[in-house]
Symmetry: C2
Subunit: 438 residues, 2 copies
């Protein structure tokens, strides 16, 4: 009699509950034929759902083996209980303020509950357990791909936020080593429309694992159109899954905002390690650039000054000329940038170049550069060339698709050089965080 | 003869190699008795290491079973090869620029190599495999606890940076939902010495899983002492493993820097969602506060204005009075903050209070507040009180350890209230990202 009673009560509750659960699932559009199944009679009975679930029950009983059916049902019940335990555990771990249950539990209880459910499932039937988990994952991924927005929100974003917080704290507590250097560049964009080729080069420097910070300062009246064209500018990089952070400031000017933004970002985890500025031919703008460089110099951040040749641009993106002065302090960022460009330009060639005054110094300089090439682990097809003559005359002869210099001291000699070199030029100043040798 | 040859060549190479590896380990202080073992003869022979390794070899051969010894050695060789494959895989995945091997491999090769080594180990002997891995983990954790700085750096920091980048990108691509709200407060600190109690309250709001951003603007001449006292200010929070980000700006004033910093942080992952400002009794500073609030208002960030009572401070940290006006727009952040404080103050009590003009409105207001208490899932011991009378007179009678108001409109009525309420007061304005009901 006890068994009969238990069976009947279980059967009755299922008979009433199952169709209503089916109807509720249909209401949230999580199953096919949602419109039909969700419809209800004026008495609020989900008639269609009752018919469908009865039909399913009858078919299964007639076709199947009742014993293995019971096992399967138990499995899914256990899986549901296990999932609830898992969810309680996750929400509790995330530490979000919205999780304030009336009945609070120690963290260990959902863990024990989840492990218990999983253990019981494995004890009953190992094959079915794996099958049940597979079915659940399948249903979940189908629902996730539908991009359903549940009315009560979801906490998936919170999971990643919590991971970010954890990893960021860990990363900040670890010591930095130059071996960890990745290109991580902040580009102040004045007018997004003029920055298409700058962004193209930046992409070729940071790809595939670097970071880009795009800073723009806009005023009230041109804000919307700027935001729009900036989004368009960054879209191709985001499509490549590069790390892009877009910073828009509505307040103040570039020259006053940039130092504050740089200092704020430097103190964050994942800071940028270089600023990319463009060199204009305009005297006024060159002066502004110099004063900006002076401000930035104290922040321990690399500096990239780019002048795109108005005619040739980046040419065929094949030939990279890297000029290495003897004992230059700004050599590491230049080498690393050249290396990144060579990786991302298709079949590009790197030339290490140096100018010497006297013929007898040539051999020593060649040995020197070859040694450096070996130490910096540059590719074997890197060419080394030492030219005798006057620096300013020699550089006028050397064509390339991009010419890379270490930042000269004083840095206003940049403005003389950009007029002379017959290609796009980029000047690079180390921050002290780079090391091309390690 | 073949077997003999193989055995002899293997034995010879081990005989020469082993003592030198032992000496090298000693040189890097990774084993005990480092000083003795690292010493070398003038011929550069590590004599002590040779003696020790010979002794070990003799003892093992005499005592042990040669067969199981061979198994064990093979295990450790396989483990070493597996570890190298794993390291290549990790360094390649991190995408750091310093990983530019002469002989580049597809990512799949180290994976196959690692799995192959592990598989071979498991095939040979399952128990030994687990033992070998345990021994390796033990040695690693011992070395890690010694905080050795290897001369060639390590990439552990890079692993966490890569995880941070991955999770941050994921988190940013997920939709935000008010359920994910966590207290995440930026506190502009003018003088660290005066902010000890402000920081104490902030800690009680964000604990255990919120975030704190501490912003200070300092000038050249007082920079060092300020940095020092700021570090002291934040040390207890960092010791509790709270998420603390310290931002120091050397350029410009508070009023100009704060909007730029806020906008920069808002565009980062893990942005703050509230600013905590202090209210002074000084008329001039109150004016500055109002203009600052006006600037901040457009940034979709919550606002907390704190006035610490000069005499009572936070009292016993027991009684929290939360005044809820009817239909106030600034209710969510106030409720969530009160909830956080109640969690972190030991046995604190929360009172929901409202003032009504007429006696007949009392009952309705009580029902209203009780309903809200239920919806916001506030603890059952939350008291609801509705008082009839004039607002400004009533609040003068109500003592508490902290009094919480929604931000009044216009917000300069704050300055009238702080003089009247006989306790520390905090005014809270919603950002729109909070929801106390979900």
């Amino acid at each position: 009699a006890g068994i009969l009673g238990a069976t009947l009560s279980s059967a009755l509750s299922t008979m009433v509950g199952a169709p209503r659960i089916l109807a509720a699932l249909a209401e949230n559009r999580t199953i096919p034929l949602a419109r039909v199944l969700a419809s209800k009679t004026p008495n609020n009975d989900p008639r269609n759902a009752i018919l469908v679930s009865s039909a399913i029950a009858l078919v299964v009983i007639m076709v199947g083996n009742l014993d293995s059916l019971a096992t399967m049902l138990t499995m899914f019940f256990l899986a549901t209980y296990g999932a609830i335990n898992l969810i309680v555990f996750i929400e509790k771990t995330l530490g979000i303020a919205s999780f304030r249950p009336q009945f609070d539990l120690a963290l260990v209880i959902p863990i024990v509950g989840f492990c218990g459910c999983l253990g019981a499932m494995l004890l009953i039937n190992k094959l079915f357990t794996i099958l049940a988990i597979l079915v659940i994952v399948l249903i979940y991924s189908r629902l996730a791909s539908k991009n359903l927005v549940s009315p009560w929100g979801d906490v998936r974003g919170g999971v990643f936020t919590a991971i970010t917080e954890w990893a960021a704290q860990k990363a900040m507590s670890m010591p930095y080593h130059p071996r960890l250097w990745k290109p991580s560049i902040i580009v102040p964009v004045e007018n997004p429309l003029n920055y298409r080729n700058v962004m193209h080069l930046t992409r070729d420097i940071i790809y595939p694992s670097g970071r880009l910070y795009c800073l723009s300062v806009y005023t009230e009246n041109n804000g919307l159109s700027q935001l729009e064209s900036k989004r368009e500018l960054l879209a191709p990089l985001i499509a490549e899954e590069l790390f892009v952070q877009d910073i828009s400031i509505t307040d103040g000017s570039f020259d006053s905002a940039l130092p504050v933004v740089l200092q704020t970002l430097k103190s964050s985890f994942l800071p940028p390690n270089a600023v990319l500025l463009t060199i204009s031919n305009n005297r006024e703008k060159q002066k502004r650039l110099l004063s900006l460089i002076e401000k930035i110099n104290s922040f321990q951040i690399g500096l990239m000054c780019l002048h795109i040749h108005p005619k040739t641009g980046f040419g065929q993106e094949k030939k990279i000329n890297l000029w290495l002065r003897d004992r230059s302090p700004n050599i590491n960022l230049a080498v690393l940038t050249a290396f990144q460009l060579m990786q991302n330009w298709d079949q590009a060639n790197l030339n290490l170049l140096r100018v010497v005054k006297n013929r007898e110094d040539i051999e020593k300089a060649v040995l020197n550069l070859e040694f450096f090439k070996e130490k910096a682990r540059l590719p074997v097809n890197t060419a080394v060339r030492v030219i005798q003559g006057d620096f300013y005359e020699v550089i006028q002869q050397e064509t390339a698709d991009i010419t890379i210099f270490g930042m000269p001291v004083p840095c206003n000699t940049m403005f003389d050089l950009i007029g002379k070199v017959p290609s796009t030029v980029i000047f690079l100043a180390d921050s002290g965080l780079e090391n091309a040798i390690v």
